[in-house]
């Protein structure tokens, strides 16, 4: 039973993550007055891509081919350390939140290297922008998690994600309301930046000069692209479940009920992304660092408040 509980979130995330992309697409379509693609469209896309062959440019090396695989592997590994509701993660150790941030960084490093490996000026620009965004998003993420950990620790958690996140509850909001609110805003900023959504990036654009994430994967096709899309969906889930653990701290006696509520919260996060993308324009690229520094500053203030 314990094994089942420990693997449950990983299996659930692996199955349901692409659904989040479908929810975002449907939300945007509803705002635009369209019906939109079916919710299961991302699954169909993945199946279609996996059935294709891959084409590799002769100017690329093993780095290009390793990019999607290492990226997906890193994100799956990160997923193993993330709990859902009070359902524990598959693995946990004190300080694993740093490992999660590092694994996300590893995925970014390899997708950037793969983009540079093509020698295309567009992909080089994309990699440079992604590196800049990542360098600013990572400290904001770590600081926000540290603030959340400190808030939870006063309620008796330990320094792993499985210790911190399930320990947050309604009582934590009463004790540390302002801290957790600021942590939430900081994490939302990181979430939108890390997942290449508006206002930081625009996943729907076809304009190669404005893209960040999309332009880096232009040369990937077939199963490699499927790995990238699936990895992106899992990343959405990983960071989303951290936000949900803080904002929807429903703590009933049953871990399964808590997990189901948290999964419902994930859908709300996807709807939130859809609403953001339907109601505002992208930031000018030069303003993105300010956006992320803002998130980091919120996290620092939150940390200062809780350590006061």
């Amino acid at each position: 039973m314990e094994i089942l509980e420990r693997l449950a979130h990983t299996v659930l995330a692996a199955l349901l993550a692409p659904l989040l992309l479908g929810v975002i697409a449907r939300t945007k379509a509803a705002f635009a007055g369209r019906r939109g693609p079916p919710l299961v469209q991302p699954y169909r896309d993945l199946r279609r891509l996996l059935g294709k062959g891959a084409v590799y440019s002769t100017t690329t090396s093993w780095v290009f081919r390793a990019g999607p695989t290492v990226g997906l592997a890193a994100i799956v590994t990160a997923l193993l350390f993330v709990p859902l509701g009070t359902l524990p993660a598959a693995f946990a150790f004190p300080g694993d939140l740093v490992a999660v941030a590092g694994l996300l960084g590893l995925a970014r490093l390899f997708s950037g290297r793969a983009a540079l490996d093509t020698g295309s000026s567009f992909e080089g620009m994309g990699a440079s922008r992604e590196a800049q965004i990542g360098a600013l998003a990572e400290p904001a993420l770590l600081l926000a998690l540290a603030a959340a950990a400190s808030a939870a620790a006063r309620g008796g958690g330990d320094w792993s994600l499985s210790g911190i996140l399930p320990a947050l509850s309604g009582a934590s909001w009463i004790a540390h309301g302002p801290t957790l609110a600021m942590v939430t805003f900081a994490l939302l900023g990181v979430f939108l930046a890390e997942n290449a959504r508006v206002p930081v990036d625009d996943p729907a654009t076809h304009l190669e000069l404005t893209m960040v994430h999309e332009v880096m994967v232009l040369d990937h096709g077939g199963p490699d692209l499927a790995f990238i899309l699936y990895g992106a969906a899992l990343k959405l889930w990983v960071l989303g479940s951290v936000i949900v653990a803080i904002t929807v701290p429903v703590r009933t006696g049953s871990a399964w009920v808590n997990a189901a509520v948290a999964a419902g919260g994930m859908v709300l996060v996807a709807v939130f992304v859809g609403i953001v993308e339907s109601s505002m324009a992208r930031l000018r690229l030069i303003r993105v660092p300010q956006f992320l520094v803002g998130a980091a500053v919120l996290a620092v203030v939150a940390l200062a408040l809780v350590l006061r």
Partner: protein, 506 residues
């Protein structure tokens, strides 16, 4: 030296070629420079075949008296370039060099425009051998040197389904120091094909000079033919043409506002305007059965009449579309994340705008009151005015906002014209064209002024048919707007100009 700008034509007029003053190339240069300094603009500058080599023709639009001064000069093998003193002649002179194999001496950046062989066999301004292949885009590009400088080449194949064009950026990090636009991929040889006309193909060529400006180009052509044929279109036809011209403006402006929103990821206006563009196109279809106005404008009048029932229906639909448009466009001006992207992006100063000779929306967005409908009215615009819409700032916001102002004024104009449509026929006959004559027409299309100049031979056929699409004036404006900008803002700047590739490449 006297300026000798003694010969003028009004918009949509013809005159015997012999009346055009023939001067030496140096005198033509002086006269044009002086006139441009006094506030005229170069609407067309082109070569035409003459008994001895190539004869240059300069058409200067003089807003102060609403007339066009025309001068001619025999070029010989070379002529003194105007460009160093008059940058708006830049592309015209490159075009002359490429088409006729004569060199503008002193031109600072003499490169081919469309990458084709000279019209006069055996001549080549660059001394290329007759068998040497000429490939579009294969040429020297301006380079910025430096340790941090990198070059970004975009196109001619793009990620979206758009026309082919090559853009060469000299960047330092994300900042663009220089952009060079290299086109010619869409060159079809339309101007050459039009010579010897008019024939059965002529109208089809004209309607597809730039497919999104069918009515604009067809109107300019019809006015040229009517001038040479010594007739005028009936008043009712002129009103129907103006309605179609404004509907074309409405459809394209609506589409552009939506596309501008799309480029910054602002979904509401993008989704709304995509639909509204279709509504306006369907209104043109209501008029003539074609969403792009094909077959509507004909020399001597219009191919279709507007009966009362359809007029009423059209008027209703346009007012409904305008109401929706007010909501969709209003979101752009009230959303701070949109304004943050539009304001101060891609700014062209008023001085640069004048020097580069920009036209249309791009010029009016710099505060210039350049609008052929007001300055050089022809057709129904002589009696029914559309107020000129301008904005001062010269940035993406200004180009977007001028479009919205024009949408409102064009819609009001169309409703008014439909309500008070003159009676009578919509088509009259056009006589045979006057031989050895010159005629010109300037029409304010949705993008800017469209200039058609026709020179006839002794049999009344086109010896030379010159087309100047507004894009030909404005591509240089896009390059100027990108100076010092972020390269990620290029698609937005590009869309704010929304220039035609095929209209420039002809």
């Amino acid at each position: 030296m006297a300026t000798r700008l003694t010969f003028t034509l009004r918009n949509g007029e013809a005159a015997p070629l012999g009346e055009v003053p023939l001067v030496a190339p140096g005198e033509l240069r002086e006269a044009v420079l002086r006139s441009v300094e006094a506030g005229s603009r170069l609407s067309a500058f082109f070569g035409a075949p003459a008994a001895k080599g190539v004869r240059l023709h300069a058409v200067l639009a003089q807003p102060e008296d609403g007339a066009f001064a025309i001068l001619a000069a025999d070029a010989g093998e070379s002529f003194p370039s105007l460009t160093p003193a008059c940058p708006e002649a830049h592309l015209f002179e490159r075009e002359i060099a490429e088409q006729w194999g004569v060199r503008p001496e002193g031109h600072p950046w003499l490169k081919p425009v469309r990458f084709h062989r000279s019209y006069r066999s055996g001549t080549d301004a660059w001394g290329r051998a007759p068998g040497e292949p000429i490939e579009p885009g294969v040429t020297e590009f301006f380079r910025v040197e430096g340790p941090e400088v990198h070059e970004v080449a975009v196109g001619p194949v793009h990620a979206g389904v758009i026309e082919p064009g090559h853009f060469r950026f000299q960047c330092e990090g994300e900042t663009v120091h220089h952009l060079e636009v290299s086109l010619g991929y869409q060159h079809r040889g339309v101007e050459r094909a039009l010579a010897g006309g008019p024939d059965k193909r002529t109208l089809h060529y004209v309607e597809t000079l730039a497919g999104d400006t069918t009515v604009g180009h067809a109107t300019a052509h019809a006015e040229v033919v009517e001038a040479l044929g010594g007739s005028a279109a009936p008043a009712r036809a002129q009103a129907v043409r103006a309605v179609a011209l404004e509907l074309e403006r409405l459809a394209n402006h609506a589409g552009d506002l939506g596309a501008l929103a799309g480029d910054i990821g602002f979904q509401p206006t993008a989704a709304f305007c995509g639909r509204l563009r279709g509504d306006f196109l369907n209104l043109t279809a209501l008029l003539c059965g074609s969403r792009f106005g094909r077959g509507l404008v004909r020399p001597g009048g219009a191919g279709f009449d507007l009966d009362e029932e359809r007029a009423a229906r059209g008027s209703e639909r346009i007012q409904a579309a305008l109401r929706d448009m007010a909501g969709a466009a209003g979101l752009l001006w009230s959303t701070s994340s949109v304004l943050a992207r539009f304001e101060n992006t891609g700014r062209v100063t008023r001085e640069d705008c004048v020097r580069l000779g920009l036209v249309g929306v791009a010029a009016r967005a710099c505060g210039l009151e350049r609008d052929a409908r007001a300055e050089f009215p022809s057709g129904i615009y002589r009696v029914a005015q559309v107020p000129v819409s301008t904005w001062r700032t010269g940035d993406v916001f200004a180009r977007a906002y001028v479009r919205w102002l024009e949408v409102q004024r064009s819609a009001a104009f169309v409703v008014e014209q439909i309500r008070a449509l003159p009676g009578g026929l919509v088509r009259s006959g056009v006589g045979s064209l006057a031989p050895d004559s010159i005629a010109l027409s300037l029409v304010e299309g949705w993008r800017g002024e469209i200039c058609h100049v026709a020179l006839t031979d002794s049999r009344g056929r086109f010896a030379r048919y010159k087309v100047v699409d507004p894009s030909f004036h404005n591509w240089q404006g896009l390059a100027a707007a990108m100076r010092g900008q972020q390269i990620s803002d290029f698609p937005l700047c590009n869309k704010s100009f929304n220039l035609s590739y095929c209209g420039q490449d002809l």
